[in-house]
């Protein structure tokens, strides 16, 4: 159905999945990596950098922002974007923790 039974899951599970989902597209990973290398940039920079049209980039930025992965500050008629380290730390820490527990579990894995 393309619809998710969100009511069946915890707030944390939904939060983590939404962040992961936002990072689940190569263009958005490329945007994050680009942002990381240039520190801050405006939408137009990304449009020049990636082979995607301006509305497409704008949409990807919106999804990254909704997930809390980046934040944008209005500066005149452009918007300065940068990564929000807290969200990346949250998701990274969550997966690392799972990896760590799974690693010890794995001794008696099938």
């Amino acid at each position: 159905m393309g619809i998710t039974k969100t009511e069946s899951f915890t707030e944390d599970q939904i939060r983590v999945s939404l962040i992961a989902k936002a990072l689940g597209h190569p263009a958005r990973i490329a945007i994050v990596e680009y942002l990381l290398s240039v520190n801050t940039c405006i939408c137009g920079d990304i449009v020049n950098y990636l082979p995607l049209a301006q509305p497409t980039v704008s949409q990807h930025l919106k999804e990254l922002k909704n997930a809390g992965i980046i934040k944008g500050t209005i500066e005149g008629n452009s918007i300065c974007y940068c990564i929000d380290p807290a969200t990346m730390e949250l998701i990274g820490g969550y997966f690392i923790k799972i990896a760590s527990i799974a690693h010890t579990n794995n001794l008696k894995c099938c």
Copy 2:
């Protein structure tokens, strides 16, 4: 178009995004957390645990397996699933690294 311009991105970007995408659904996060708590289990256990039909769970397991997040071993007529720590470590480490670099960058963020 619902189609991704994969040819425009690096292998690593695509690999990371595919893992993140697989983790981008609350049911699959719930499956990973469940697997983490019970160490190993079979598909039927998850069907009993989650309010999802057996074909739906089977499909989610397939996606987690394709992304390398879990692995399944045939045991009689059932399949024993468990988490692959390496993939979780890869994705967790990748995000933590980004968080770390972004954290120092952020001193001069907009």
